[in-house]
Assembly symmetry: C2
């Protein structure tokens, strides 16, 4: 039973839970497009396997995969990872999957946003994106859950939520002319609150430097817990991220959340700066849209981690900073399991562990 609902989550008593709340399952999409993932996506596939295995220590994982890659994915993945056929245009379940909302009576529903490949015909990363736009509905069908089709172009990675009424996002992305040019900022805020069951939107001006998603908030910050935010920090004045991080800190410190609390900011290290090598770039098919050239600055961030059932799965990106970051996670989440996964191959595709995963809340 998967009904498409015409009402709105907020009116129905639903809210999106925080990522720290319990998960039933995590969904991922198997990578394969050769104009994004180098060497036929084989190195990325190995990394996705490692991410899935890490998550599955605490949370069951479903990997959706195209028909042509089904046998390969089924063979590469351990048998406790569920593999389900699904077509897609790329492999960013955070952005294409449903944002789930729950009520106080043990019910849940999916929110299926419009998707236009991070900018549609204005500055989208590929064309077409029709299969990606169907993923949220298909996931809800598999789970037997009702869903809302929200009248808003939005990727799941462009919002963070604390589960207690506050949405975090960036103006760079949500007010970008390639998403919802006909809506005002107030109208977008209202839709976010209506479809996430939230009360307040906290705007950060910009995302991470050179992030091709138009500055997704999930590559800059993470909600550690309500009213506590991890923020990617940079102390090198010559780095463009220096000013961007300070702007973000100022925006967070200038506001209180939906519960009226001041926001505590934890500054986390930035890896790198990291760049695409000539060898890496040479393994990627030429195509319009995504820039995959040698020397390109990679939008590398430890904020792009996943919390799933008291387990932190974070990207290992730079030996100079990985150890510091792991030590910080142990302090930030003293009762959590902390697992780092070598994740440069995900970074080369334009995102990281948070971008390739979408949690389904337990109810």
């Amino acid at each position: 039973m998967s009904e498409r609902l015409q009402s709105k989550p907020s009116n129905d008593g639903y809210r999106m839970p925080g990522e720290h709340e319990p998960h039933e399952r995590v969904f991922m999409v198997w990578p394969e497009r050769c104009d994004n993932w180098r060497l036929g996506a084989k190195p990325a596939q190995r990394t996705f396997v490692e991410v899935a295995k890490a998550i599955s220590k605490r949370t069951p994982v479903t990997m959706v995969v195209s028909a042509s890659q089904f046998d390969n994915a089924r063979t590469q993945l351990p048998s406790d990872i569920q593999v389900i056929e699904m077509s897609s245009n790329d492999s960013w379940m955070r952005d294409t999957g449903p944002s789930y909302v729950v009520d106080d009576n043990g019910n849940r529903r999916g929110v299926d946003w419009g998707f236009n490949a991070w900018g549609g015909l204005v500055d989208g990363l590929y064309f077409p994106w029709d299969k990606d736009d169907q993923i949220a509905q298909k996931v809800c069908e598999i789970l037997g859950d009702d869903s809302y089709r929200a009248p808003l172009i939005l990727e799941g990675g462009s919002i963070h939520i604390d589960g207690e009424g506050t949405v975090y996002t960036t103006a760079e992305c949500l007010l970008h002319p390639s998403r919802n040019p006909d809506l005002t900022k107030d109208e977008i805020e209202k839709l976010l609150c209506d479809y996430l069951g939230a009360e307040k939107v906290i705007w950060i001006p910009n995302g991470l430097f050179n992030d091709e998603t138009n500055g997704h908030v999930d590559n800059l910050i993470h909600v550690v817990r309500p009213a506590t935010i991890a923020l990617t920090w940079c102390d090198d004045e010559t780095d463009p991220q220096y000013t961007l991080s300070r702007e973000s800190l100022a925006a967070l410190e200038a506001q209180t959340d939906a519960k009226g609390r001041s926001i505590e900011v934890i500054k986390i290290p930035m890896p790198g700066p990291l760049y695409m090598t000539a060898e890496e770039a040479s393994g990627i098919d030429a195509a319009d849209g995504m820039e995959r050239e040698a020397g390109e600055r990679l939008a590398a961030s430890y904020a792009n981690y996943l919390i799933s059932n008291k387990h932190i799965i974070f990207p290992l990106l730079d030996p100079k900073t990985d150890g510091d970051m792991e030590a910080m996670f142990k302090r930030m989440y003293p009762d959590h399991l902390i697992t780092g996964v070598e994740a440069r191959e995900i970074l080369l595709g334009g995102g990281n562990i948070h971008c390739i995963t979408q949690q389904i809340p337990a109810v």
Copy 2:
């Protein structure tokens, strides 16, 4: 958790339940191939919708559908029918889906037979059949059930089972050189018993006249209940089915089942004879393999019905006999709901309601 098991169901204490035992769900595949289904498969799709709706009166239904037909199927089907993307070569879930086995402790597993499109390169109906051969495993993955890959080419419609140790099949199909030419009859019997948890195979010489499946048993008979068989009957001496039905009766009456019981045979009427019209044939794409020509005798049979949770879903095929058949079903199954569905469009594609459905036992 969907493990591929190397053992055998009989050794593990599993048996295939009879169709009269409780079902959790019924799976179907959305039809679309234009060299089998006329007029772009649109009339067949409408019929599949009606079959799914009928079954769903008593049993939840999952329709699997290709990516390109997903939106259409989702729109045509009521919201209580689950729709899941899956690629296929055609739409015969009985033959491509898993045969489920259960144990006495509330567990179930799928049996995934080899599939070669009713005859492979010898006399198969289409090429390739790779997607069809993956369906059983994909269904088990969706359900989270372990599965056995049986070392036997077999379609689910070529066997009937009573759940109490007896398998019914036809020599025409199971001993056909296009299926398992390297196996003897004894070896095939042993594999059937091993993978269905059965003890005895009852062989009927031939299936229905002009059945392109090489005489699937499910288009000739149905297990009404253990030791009671419905057999398609024909009293017209000039019809080739006349002799075939008498041969079948003799084979059934000459044997006892696995429990040592004599087999009671209920003779059910045969529709028609029915033939493909010129108009019907003209709507089908030309292709090698399937013969879809005006005037072709259709392998029409009421035996091709489904039992699902005390509900009989049977094909309406011929106004001259439909009423008699319905009256007989009411006598054969006095405590069951009886639903007829107009099914000529399924017949034109080469099968009927039993062929397009596969039950998943409740455990």
